[in-house]
């Protein structure tokens, strides 16, 4: 009898093991069903709207439907993306589960109300896109008080209504360059200035004066050229930033403790000397983390790294983010976001964004000092065409082994009614036929109008 009971117990154990497996399966299906549906072609996706209710993504979009404006989606083509699977790291591809008119209770339906309401301003975005003319590049702008990304343009873009052969598209069409790494040029000097103030204090930095003879030979005898080969003469930090003087910053770096620069850069989110940093993302979209190499303050690689060339790379989005801390005069970066809120299959709001902050990596005192220097720079006549009170820093980045030059501009608008931080990159602009000021003016004007 005892042995029979043992046999029964074994039968129960086998059945219980199966039932445990079934419970795991049920949990797995409940947890992952949205993910499975993201691969399904039998689910109707909802729309993406801008901050004014204009459509940014329409799953039923076609040339026929948008025949009145065939380029309707061109300005946000590689930011919002589509569901074709050709583009990754876009708002749609990374948030497709929020757009699915699906839930486990009802299954896939054709009449759901799933949607994403983005923070972008389509009208302003289009104007900025058009302002690039025949130039390629990227521009990103956000409200540095709330974190809403209002403008995000990347040229060349893709017309999602009409692209079948991806190989025929111009290089870079399928990616939003605002989220990918680029050589920052002299816009990096803002970070170097922050590192200098954090390392030796503002008073020590402000007392530093160096001579710019056009080319400065560092302690190892390597020449650091200035863009103005005739030299800027003797300058202080404020003048050097306005002049974007390379020899000044090379000499400043030589007098800074290497650990101090490295620590500040790492706190700001740089990957220094290939160190690992936490991932940066905006609503699922991965953002390139800044990286540089700093080994010896007397070495030209480190000096160029602090000037914004060499092995330094930063995404325009991250350059813009630091501007929020400077504009606010705080030690916190306002975290940007692209999704304001989203609704589920029955129209209930399931996700509502709120303003979040993260450490800027430098103190609020440092922010305030940089803010003043940048505002002073912005008052310079050469930025008058922007037509607003701005704090800015330009940059010229040599790319493709010096074959081309990109023009950059980072900054913020110092007006209470227009708290906008921005970063602009115009590619292959060595002949300066287009000014970053024009784009900045367009960003601020179009946002001001709307």
């Amino acid at each position: 009898m005892k042995s029979i009971k043992r046999g029964e117990r074994l039968t129960i154990i086998i059945i219980a093991a199966f039932l445990i497996g079934m419970i795991i399966l049920v949990v797995k299906i409940i947890m992952e069903s949205s993910f499975y549906m993201s691969h399904s072609t039998h689910v109707k996706l909802g729309n993406v709207y801008d901050c004014n209710g204009e459509i940014l993504f329409d799953s039923e979009a076609s040339l026929e439907k948008y025949k009145d404006d065939a380029n309707y989606f061109i300005d946000i083509g590689n930011v919002i993306g589509d569901d074709s699977g050709q583009m990754t790291n876009t708002l749609v591809s990374e948030n497709i589960n929020k757009l699915q008119n699906y839930n486990l209770l009802f299954g896939a339906t054709k009449t759901g109300k799933s949607s994403i309401h983005a923070t972008l301003n389509h009208a302003a975005n289009r104007k900025v896109y058009e302002a690039f003319g025949n130039k390629d590049g990227t521009a990103i702008a956000y409200n540095y008080k709330t974190g809403e990304i209002l403008i995000c343009v990347s040229k060349p873009s893709v017309n999602i209504l009409n692209y079948e052969n991806v190989s025929e598209l111009p290089s870079g069409s399928l990616m939003c360059k605002a989220f990918y790494g680029t050589v920052p040029g002299s816009t990096q000097k803002v970070s170097t200035l922050a590192a200098a103030i954090e390392s030796i204090g503002y008073s020590a930095v402000s007392e530093k004066v160096y001579n710019c003879p056009g080319t400065y030979y560092n302690n190892y005898g390597t020449g650091i050229d200035c863009h103005d080969l005739s030299g800027h003469g003797v300058q202080n930090i404020s003048q050097a930033l306005q002049n974007s003087c390379n020899p000044f910053f090379a000499q400043l770096v030589e007098e800074l403790p290497l650990d101090g620069i490295i620590n500040t850069f790492r706190d700001m989110g740089y990957s220094v000397n290939k160190s690992k940093n936490k991932e940066l993302e905006i609503n699922g979209i991965s953002i390139f983390r800044a990286s540089t190499e700093l080994t010896d303050v007397n070495d030209s690689i480190t000096q160029w790294g602090c000037i914004g060339q060499g092995k330094t790379e930063i995404s325009p989005c991250q350059l813009m983010m630091w501007q929020s801390a400077i504009a606010n005069g705080t030690d916190k970066v306002t975290m940007p976001y692209l999704i304001d809120y989203s609704t589920n299959i029955i129209g209930i709001t399931t996700h509502h964004s709120s303003t979040k902050y993260e450490s800027a990596g430098f103190s609020s005192e440092t922010s305030k000092h940089i803010r003043e220097i940048m505002l002073e720079n912005g008052r310079n006549n050469k930025y008058s065409s922007i037509g607003r009170s701005v704090g800015v820093k330009t940059g010229t980045a040599q790319v493709e082994n010096g074959k081309h030059e990109n023009s950059l501009l980072v900054g913020f608008c110092d007006e209470d009614s227009l708290p906008i931080a921005f970063c602009i990159v115009i590619e292959k602009n060595e002949s300066q036929e287009m000014s970053t000021n024009q784009i900045a003016a367009q960003i601020l004007n179009s946002l001001s109008e709307s």
Partner: protein, 439 residues
Amino acid sequence: MFHNGIKYGRSVMLVLLTHLIMLSAVVLRGNYDNIQQVYPLAIAVLGLDLVYIITLRFFYNQMTYTMDFLLLLILNISVIFQSCFGGIGFSSKHYITCILALICCQISFLLTRNHIRLMTIKKYLYIALGAIIGIMLITSVIFGRYNLWIDLGFFQFQPSEFMKPIFVLLCATSIMEQHEKKKILFFYISKEALMLTGAFLTIFLIQWFKHDLGSLPTFAAAYACAVVCRICYPKAKFSKKMLIIICAIGAVVVVAALKFAPGYVQDRLSVDIWSDMHGHGYQQCQALMAIAEGGLFGKGPGYGSLIEIAAADTDIVFSTICEEWGFLVALLIIFFIVSLLILPMINKPRSYYHTTMILGVAAVLIVQMGLNIFGSCNLIPFTGFKIPFISQGGSSMITCGLLAGMLKAGQSPVFRKPEIPSLQKKRQIQSGKTRRDNI
């Protein structure tokens, strides 16, 4: 005393009501152009219900009927499922195999309820197993090494399926003589145990040879249960230490098997289905998407699209049901099948032979069901099994019918010695003589 759990009338009501509700769902939510398309299915399902109920009541009265009703319930649900996949119709082939399964269940019940009778024909079980293996080898020569099917034109069958009930019976019968063992060196060896192990190894080798290792876990589960029953037997001279050693050896064998498995097995073990969703992970990805698409209540009978995928009505049938009928209905049918296995806990087996037989059947059916459902849903590697009583396939259905009969036999066993005709005559003659002498 026998227990049936539910009264006869209520059992009849439960079966009829369930089938009527499902047929109503087909009418109300089904994908058909004309209501007449539903008639053959409705007539077939309700007709089989009535015929079986009448037969059980008036021509084949038994003390245990719950198993019969549960089997009838499951099989007709399966007919409704299979007839609706991709559009309402009537799957006559599946219907016939379900009737065959019901018949096989009764045959198996009558053959296996008396263990003493079974002992007298045990050698024929080994002969049958040998014959099946022989047939498999012959088919390898005629139809190719990896061919698992025999095609008779009008009927296709898979001989390896029939090894399952035979092997379960071998496991059960081997227990009966397990105390007859001799000590060789340090081990107590029983002839029965050696023969059973030999049978298992032979099955393993033939499966390896045929590249059909996917079905090996069912045999391994039945064999493992038999071994555990042997160890658990009170007179067995097994210490806890020996039990631990055997478990450790088992674990090492499993690890080694996974490590040194053939390339095609390794591919299935290591595939990331979502990164290979158009290759090795195709069926599983489609199956999971279909489950999600169906939601809790399904798209409606006949509205599924998974049927276009290979093996939608066999290996990934759970997902096909989920898509059309919903996740809840799919779970309900699994509950019915599990209930079939739980029934022997109500009418408890009264001999170690019947316990081992029920355990073997439960192990085979549960492993088969687990491999199908968990494999198709990517919880474990996908092996391509059939859900008992639900998936389409004649060999599988007949085998499941035979196994269900064994479950039933375990609940209403017979312990009297079999009546052998020659002995019966002798006894009659003897009794006649005695009577005359008395006169």
